[in-house]
Symmetry: C4
């Protein structure tokens, strides 16, 4: 595929490669991934006539070896444009989300332990924490079981999230995908998803969590999103 | 707001900014916070005619980016006096505690996992550990459900702690707040709160914890507070 | 024992000592071992007429003190050929695997917490996660109880794994052994074993994990092994 | 107290101060302590006519601030001989163990999470792991409830351990104490105590751990102690 970019578009892509590379270290820092099992992408909006592209982790490369130059650039169909490695095998799912949710600028996928455990039993993470009201505006929903290889995962993510306040979905038997206005926001959502999954797991073992009235959740969410910006 | 401070007061405030900044790294070190979800403040007692002020974390800044200069200074109503960022959105709660508990010199708030799980089910952390007798003098109590935005959280903290030995309160569905004679003591209480929450969670899963007679708890508490000073 | 090697064989052995030494730090990094309780080995296939040898951790040396030069070289009966220390006390089990499974190039043993807990109750780790389908092709099986000191452990590993897709076996009351095409692949399997053990533990506490149909597991496994190579 | 030591005794004490200081960092490394809640001591056997002394952590000093010079030296009654700080408040218990168990050269006390949870419910950690057979020779027993301030804790430790193979005792409602031929061995026992407590906790949640026949435990213990030396 031959693509030409203006200097401004090329610079925006290079900036995204640096950011996406650095954000992978946050997945390690917050304990969200083991070995190579997680990936971050960011949309670069087209300028000077270019189409949008996405920057994502290369496939099968360990986190210690990641550099900005090793981040791959794909079009929004998931086709490789620039990169010495193949894109992450989850690229099709990321690309589908960018094609169908224009407001999304970043996507993250992990198999973080506690969130993935909720996904294995197919239960949403219930909202009994003010920090969940703030960040997720309610429970974190479960998406359908879907196999890798076509658009099934992407469709499951989009169908679950398009009518939800939550920036996170637990794909059944698989693990969480999170979205945000940029990659950093999606990484934050991934870190918070695991934290609330862990906290709610412990709470559910301790007894019956106390309900927070819906209007209080609405109030928390409205205030937080107003202060910190939409995800 | 225009405030003038004597050199001695200004120096005391700068010293507190250094200390409060450094103490945020302890929250990370002991695993008490994810992303930006925790804050430490310290009271600086007014000298040379100045009113007391509080030094607290700026809002929405990641822990890696914190510097002494980024710590903000507020009056005890929570109004910003000095700082390039807004104060933490929990400042009103900290300020309320300083106004109503004159012996308190430091306040810490986290969403640490196990303590927050007890808060989600509205159960106090029961005192079956000698280290709890030492540090907390009994169970760690639960405070009321309260929304951010007015003095409700501060009132709930003060009403729960004013007649308790415990330097920690679990605000229902929210998380722990801790107090101390200075910020370091409040951070220690936050670390110990999470540790005893985690230990008691495991104990409650293993079976029925053995009661410690009240007079033994009293003895542990009296000795420890005498040795290490009142919180 | 006197052995002579060609320069090429000697170089291959030195390369393996460097790799095996470095891979022990991955056991620490992913939280798989406490103190000295884990070991990694790699087969070096004989060239220029030499027999295969294995490179393994020395016995009772802490991880901080390991150097490539401290890695010991043994024949495939487990006899020491080169090394200032005794080989790991688990060497006989590693050697047995290499003698009986020619495709295996790396073996790892740990007592990682969650996998060892499944071993203590003698339950396989059930496959309710797409990442297990990918990496293990089904459940992680339990091997027999066997004492150290003869070939019992090695036999138990080989009998359990020879007809299984799984590169990991949980030896009853003992802990996991993993295999791979080289030591790095076996370390990856060890890290993934602990991760799926932890995730499935949490899932089993939360409720009934949802089954993944066998043909979906087959599909996941076929695709992943094709992309990333056989273990 | 005025004590004079030969150069050889003085050198042995300085060596112990370095070792005991460094071993405290192992408590942090293996996650055994929060804040200042753990301590390591080592006996220095008297030479050139001197009495035995013990080297122990100073009281209330954070782990980051520990230096060899800050380690305090006490006689075996627990009286301070050399040191700028008070000895750990647990010194009386350490000293009692050294006075009554001549083979013991190191003592460690922690409140490590899972071991302390077993102590809170007063249940021994049952031996369903080969690594427990190796290191502990059976279950880890529970000692009596005892308050700090006199010899009760020391007596409870000695009475529980003197007829046990285990180098660890869980003091009820309090936490583990471990012993060894030197401080390093006692620290290893403390790390292994927490690890087997955590593993057995998970196993007990998963189901009924499988029994290991007593003669197999005896065999594991005999072999391991022969290879690695008596604790």
């Amino acid at each position: 595929m031959t693509v030409t970019w203006s200097p401004a578009m090329a610079e925006a892509i290079e900036k995204a490669r640096v950011e996406v590379c650095e954000l992978h270290s946050e997945l390690i820092k917050w304990g969200l991934v083991v070995w190579t099992a997680g990936n971050v992408s960011q949309r670069v909006r087209g300028i000077d006539g270019a189409d949008d592209v996405l920057v994502i982790k290369p496939s099968g490369v360990t986190y210690d070896s990641l550099t900005p130059a090793s981040m791959v650039v794909c079009d929004l169909e998931g086709n490789l444009i620039v990169g010495a490695h193949s894109p992450s095998s989850d690229t099709a799912a990321h690309a589908y989300v960018y094609r169908h949710m224009d407001e999304v600028g970043g996507v993250v996928h992990t198999h973080s332990t506690y969130a993935t455990a909720f996904a294995a039993v197919g239960k949403p993470i219930p909202c009994h924490l003010t920090m969940m009201g703030d960040e997720f505006g309610g429970e974190i929903p479960v998406g359908p079981f879907a196999l890798i290889g076509d658009d099934s995962i992407g469709q499951g993510i989009v169908e679950t999230l398009k009518d939800s306040r939550s920036p996170a979905v637990l794909m059944q038997n698989h693990g969480p995908f999170t979205i945000g206005k940029d990659a950093k926001a999606a990484v934050k959502a991934a870190a918070m998803t695991e934290e609330v999954a862990r906290t709610m797991f412990v709470a559910l073992q301790l007894g019956d969590p106390i309900a927070i009235p819906q209007e209080k959740i609405d109030s928390l969410y409205a205030r937080y999103q107003n202060v910190y910006g939409q995800h």
